[in-house]
């Protein structure tokens, strides 16, 4: 009996030791309010540090501590932190997750605070505000955005004597040129039919007049004729040997094939600029049109965690992050397209030999990336099921049937 008592005591002693490790400070010693800022992109650290410096010139009482988590772990970590009420006060949010976080009440609606402070949401592209609007409440202040462009390799075009892509291009033209540029002997494919939703089959489905998620959010539109036609068009590049196969593209990323001159054209976003600008043969144009023009738009925003103890300070910081001043810092460093209207020009000039304007032109007819409470689950089904159609194991019709069934089930669980 005594043995047990001693054992329990030693355990308790050990526990006390452990507990001692985890004490937390609310306010820092000099009376300043301290807030944390969570984000994932290391490339943006210099810009963020500069913005915090500017912020502190106006708000010396608010100390901002940065918390960098790589994207691969970012949302896993956030979810655990949200469960324990330990989210950073201000944090980056993306479209696919915002509904889940808003409905889970772990981030704060900003509309009331914005109204009180006369803060205008009109300074950002409307599709981005829509992306972060859940149940008519705005939850995030847009920070940056990205659309998709048709990247191409000038050298391959020149060698085949084909004019470069421009805004007159449509689906037929894309296919026609891809056929001309494909050169089996040299190992060159005309086009890369990526199995990706943003900048991939979503764009094609919208261009063909289809939809991804219905207005009421109750069903998906993958089994509609417009969507089936768009998916088939995309996959036909693989069937006709104009694009690497799905297996080839999982073994060697299409972006790698493209930057090493094995692919003549592909869809990709502005985040690839730092990579593609290294190869002087590459340039970018607007995406071709289908029945109509459409391109997915997505952008990040800054949100406030519901568990914050310094709501006022966090709101001040988020306002500043969404300000013109902060956007200019982003534009000048050239890493992202800032969301604040009119600040994009500096970004356009950051790489003069690339036609970066193609990405901004897309904003006019852009469609926000659909976001529902369980976007992640639907995306998972898309990858699992559509890949069978992409690898020609299954017909597009069979694949979309299964995908629609599973995705609709997921939506009905909301």
């Amino acid at each position: 009996m005594k043995k047990w008592l001693i054992m329990i005591l030693t355990l308790a002693l050990g526990l006390l030791g452990l507990a001692g490790c985890s004490s937390s400070d609310e306010t820092s010693s000099d009376g300043k309010v301290e807030i944390t800022y969570g984000f994932w992109d290391k490339k943006q650290v210099p810009a963020i540090e500069e913005i915090i410096k500017l912020f502190n010139e106006k708000n010396p009482d608010i100390k901002v501590k940065t918390e960098l988590t790589p994207y691969a772990q970012y949302f896993q970590k956030l979810e655990t932190a949200a469960t324990g009420g330990a989210l950073p006060d201000v944090l980056w949010m993306n479209g696919p997750h915002v509904v889940q976080y808003a409905k889970g009440k772990v981030i704060l609606p900003l509309s009331d605070m914005a109204k009180k402070d006369d803060y205008s949401f009109d300074n950002y592209p409307k599709s981005l505000i829509d992306l972060y609007t859940v149940d008519e409440e705005v939850y995030g202040i847009p920070k940056d955005f990205d659309t998709t462009g048709l990247w191409y390799n000038k050298k391959i075009f020149d060698e085949a004597g084909v004019p470069y892509p421009d805004d007159t291009w449509d689906w037929n033209k894309l296919k026609e040129v891809a056929t001309k540029l494909t050169n089996k002997d040299k190992g060159i494919w005309g086009y890369a039919a990526l199995m990706g939703n943003q900048g991939g089959y979503y764009d094609f489905i919208w261009q063909n007049g289809g939809h991804i998620i219905s207005e009421d959010g109750k069903s998906v539109g993958f089994d509609q004729p417009e969507a089936i036609e768009a998916l088939k068009y995309n996959i036909s590049f693989i069937e006709d040997g104009l694009s690497p196969t799905q297996a080839q593209m999982t073994e060697t990323a299409a972006s790698e094939l493209f930057s090493s001159g094995k692919i003549a054209m592909m869809f990709d976003g502005p985040w690839m600029v730092p990579e593609y600008k290294k190869n002087p043969d590459l340039n970018v144009a607007v995406v071709p049109k289908g029945k109509q023009r459409a391109v997915a738009i997505h952008g990040l925003s800054n949100v406030i965690a519901a568990n914050t103890k310094h709501k006022e300070a966090a709101w001040k910081f988020v306002q500043f992050l969404g300000s013109k001043e902060a956007a200019e810092v982003y534009a000048n460093t050239g890493t992202v397209i800032p969301a604040y209207n009119g600040t994009q020009d500096a970004w356009l000039q950051s790489v003069p030999n690339l036609n970066l304007k193609a990405f901004i032109d897309g904003v006019d007819y852009s469609v926000p990336l659909p976001s529902v409470e369980n976007t992640g689950e639907i995306w998972q089904y898309e990858t699992d099921i559509l890949k069978k159609a992409w690898s020609e194991e299954e017909s597009v019709e069979d694949a979309v049937k299964e995908l629609t069934k599973k995705a609709n089930e997921a939506l009905s669980n909301n």
Partner: protein
């Protein structure tokens, strides 16, 4: 020698030399006790316990907090269904019922089964072979030992990335070499029929080093006198291997087998790194733990993931128990 046998006594109560040692110590203690005042020994004993527990408290605490508690929690969560941000509700046996007609789970069991059937026996066979060869008097022995051990200290992620490139069907070294002799190589990691075996090769290659080290220490623990006696009796090297080396190595083989089984059951990183998310070969390669990861962290279906983990725990327990029973038939302790 002494340390080894006491280590393996964990697995077998026979415990070799330790059995011989214990009575000896008791005798010494008994003598000492007779010399000293008997009352003192009792208090002494209690304070001994106190210090012993104090010394093992940090480890015990670690075990309880980081192993035992999560296991209990996992078992509890396997009866729940999860929503966003840690809300969950008790759903009884629902997760286990769902398992019955989950084709993916069945396939992942098949995949893991094939993986075990190949990696464990081939891995152990090759490790013994290499260990025996490295135990000979050859030149540059330490160079070879280092080479064989290198994959063990290399990060699995790095191993997977390098092999991915070797296996690349269009630009990989392997298919390039095959093309030189006029063979068009397969899609090593994308063809659903081949991908799992490609992974098995990497797993065996990267696992040999660790086992070799254990086998080497086992081999060096075999007393030279046996070999000398065998030599005098005129036994050839093959007979020596089967009659002396193998039986005396059997406790080590047993240990390595158990560890390899458990390790193979838990395979995850190689598959995660070598088979891409959108890969056509994913269904035919995903292991039980991969499926667990998928449900727990991608689909946020933590209840079902917990049920998979519990099932895996039960299977490993059963197989290890079977091995414990079977070992009586083939494992020799001196």
């Amino acid at each position: 020698m002494k340390r080894r046998s006491s280590f393996f006594s964990l697995f077998s109560l026979k415990g070799g030399s330790i059995v011989k040692e214990i009575p000896l110590q008791v005798e010494v203690n008994a003598k000492r006790r007779k010399l000293k005042v008997p009352n003192l020994s009792k208090t002494r004993k209690r304070s001994d316990f106190f210090w012993a527990y104090l010394m093992i408290a940090p480890t015990m605490l670690g075990l309880l907090v980081f192993y035992l508690w999560p296991i209990l929690q996992t078992i509890y969560f396997s009866f729940t269904e999860w929503g966003a941000f840690g809300q969950y509700e008790w759903t009884g046996l629902d997760n286990y019922k769902r398992m019955v007609d989950d084709a993916n789970l069945l396939q992942s069991f098949k995949n893991t089964g094939i993986y075990i059937l190949f990696t464990v026996p081939i891995g152990i066979f090759l490790s013994i072979l290499v260990a025996v060869l490295l135990n000979q008097k050859i030149k540059g022995k330490s160079v070879y030992r280092t080479l064989y051990f290198l994959p063990v200290i290399t990060m699995p992620a790095a191993i997977a990335m390098v092999w991915r490139w070797l296996y690349n069907s269009d630009y990989g070294l392997l298919n390039y070499l095959l093309s030189l002799i006029g063979i068009k190589g397969p899609q090593w990691v994308s063809d659903p029929k081949i991908a799992l075996y490609s992974i098995i090769v990497v797993a065996i290659w990267s696992g040999i080093g660790y086992n070799v080290v254990i086998f080497l220490s086992g081999l060096q623990g075999i007393p030279k006198t046996y070999y000398e006696a065998a030599e005098i009796d005129g036994a050839g090297p093959i007979k020596v291997f089967f009659k002396i080396t193998l039986p005396l190595l059997s406790p080590v083989i047993f240990f390595v087998t158990i560890m390899s089984f458990i390790g193979a059951f838990q395979v995850f990183d190689l598959i995660f790194m070598m088979i891409g998310k959108g890969s056509t070969a994913l269904e035919k390669t995903q292991s039980i733990v991969y499926l667990f990861y998928q449900h727990a962290f991608v689909l946020n279906d933590k209840g079902y993931a917990a049920a998979i983990a519990v099932l895996l725990l039960i299977i490993i327990l059963i197989i290890t128990a079977i091995q414990m029973v079977l070992q009586k038939k083939w494992v020799h302790y001196d």
